[in-house]
Symmetry: none
Subunit: 198 residues, 4 copies
DNA sequence: GATGAATGAGCTTTCATTCAT
DNA sequence: AATGAATGAAAGCTCATTCAT
């Protein structure tokens, strides 16, 4: 994503607009004209930047995965933290996003995870979110290495982590939780830690 | 669902066909003619049983939620089991479904959780899956009462449980897991138990 | 319309129900099931009495025309009345119908006059309302004969009479008139009389 | 109706085609594909100009009302004419239209007056034909002011005028009249004048 | 690059009518 | 006579995508 070039900048603005709309209204309920309108450009012109709606959706998930991955990476780099503290930080970052800039997480949950038929080809088998998954892998490997986490199948831990956080974000989005999402951080971090610790 | 009447039987057969197709291809990629074709009936006739595609989708989630709820209920009624054993049973039931009759769980994950705009009205705020949620609530309350589970916010426990299982089912559906889903039962039950225990 | 036979009675009840619905919602916005529902019978059964929706509509106009014609006939038979008085009576009858049992007049205006494609075959060229037209003809001929009305082309008089009354009924139906329809009787009878008198 | 712009021109061409078809075959018997076919364009494209069939029908009545209103206005502006002469002119204009370009008048009679459910919202209560009605109002007020017409309820006069002309146009359309429509001009103008004069 | 009119395929839904029961 | 499930044809409308300008 050479956001420096003019073309790169425009692509990113389209990605942002489409991300907002897709996450809010769903992939199929968002039309290309909708996206164009939000940007004040013509529908046809979007095709000068992305060859199809599907490809646009794929680019969005890559973009989103990169940004979320970066956030986890920042935590992974803080080597002075205990694993429990890292877990808390990750939950915190995730929940803050879910409440303050919910588009990315909603996109994950409601567009990427559901409309599998859209994310084929280059995006098969979660390749397009590899950046994000890798950072979770690193977090987990670190925890295992320093003896704080049990050495188990990675996906077993990954499913717990991401399923749990996603589930809570969903419940929050549905206004079902009795308290603000952020107030759950401590107990959820506690639960995750106790599930995974040695 | 008076499946005894002729009309009830037909309704159920439509529900089953639609469930299979929706869970496989998504709500918007499945057309009413698709469903009709699978049943060998005309598209128009489906409207003699369900007034709209949306309503059909809502009836399906009710149907599914009832069946899944029953499965959990059966476990809840086995009072001789420890909470850890119950957790294992629930995971087992869930994973068996996910591999053997994946439609229901896939429907939950890919249709119900994602296409929120479809589940409005009568189905707002997860009302249509209340049957299922209630059973999980009972499981949790029992565990707390007998002292095996920590008394925490229900949704905190619910999100863990369902997010985790859903996450694993998803990874399995994407053929990402390195082992068969069932082989994860023990370690996942272990993780959940340690996350929630006192 | 042998209303005495069982079949005749049922036919009439269908006609009445259909008349009410067609005049209220229009021919194309009224469905056969709508009519059946209003009668508490099945849609299919209606076809045991009328071979098609179009034919039903045609039978209705004949039925209506007969009844309206009878009303005019009653006035024609009152030989003691002056033509001006007869005009007043006709206007009165018409407006009373338009306010108290508006179905027939609305049917005339909004179904019969507009959906010409429905009234073909047997009903071409207003044959089906001949009964009514004939009575107006008689009224006019009488008026001419007794020297009160100018002898002009019948349709010139007929158009005035019926167009005028229909127009007023329409305006009334649209709630556009500033006063109740009945309050117009005198001035309208006056206008008609002065238009047609010798 | 900015007919100058390209889009305006196209809109007008759609209006004209739809007007012709609606007036000939009725609103419900005319399909969007019918209209498109007549224009050699695709059905979908019509929706780039009018958001729905109903709205299209409403635009047509506005368009028609404006044109008919203009014709009356021209007569109103001829201050040298007596009221009787004006009436004759109006009848003449109306009948000429009815025979030479019958779409507009047929549209009035068979689409606008009958399919009330289509002309809701912006078009409620004859708002969309206000332009035309206003000119008739002016004609009537002028006639009253100069002492030639009796001062009565406007709708009483309006109903006479328009009901009469509409009725004759209808009879003509049904090929029921014994003579060409234009041949009735004099006697009808006479009738109207004598109905309304002081 | 940018526009937006145009297309065409496809969708949900409706409904008169038929027909087995 | 009566039912109502079933059909099939068609309608209105949407939208990703193309392309002339």
């Amino acid at each position: 994503m050479k956001a420096e070039t003019k073309k790169g900048k425009k692509k990113e603005s389209i990605i942002k607009a489409a991300l907002a709309l897709f996450s809010l209204n769903g992939f199929y309920k968002t039309t290309i004209p909708d996206i164009a309108r939000r940007l004040g450009m013509s529908a046809g012109n979007i095709y000068n930047y992305f060859p199809s709606k599907d490809i646009l959706a794929q680019e969005i998930i890559k973009y989103t995965s990169e940004i979320l991955g970066h956030e986890i990476q920042k935590i992974n780099l803080q080597t002075d933290l205990t694993t429990h503290q890292k877990i808390k930080k990750i939950v915190e970052v995730y929940f803050n996003m879910a409440t303050q800039k919910p588009e990315m997480i909603e996109y994950f949950l409601r567009v990427y995870l559901s409309n599998r038929e859209v994310f084929t080809g280059e995006c098969d088998k979660m390749i397009c979110v590899a950046g994000f998954i890798t950072e979770i892998m690193i977090f987990f490997a670190d925890g295992v290495e320093c003896g704080e986490l049990r050495d188990q199948d990675f996906f077993s831990a990954f499913g717990l982590f991401m399923g749990y956080l996603g589930g809570m974000a969903f419940l929050n989005g549905e206004s079902i939780l009795s308290r603000p999402l952020e107030s759950y951080i401590d107990e959820i971090a506690y639960n995750i830690y106790h599930a995974l610790k040695t």
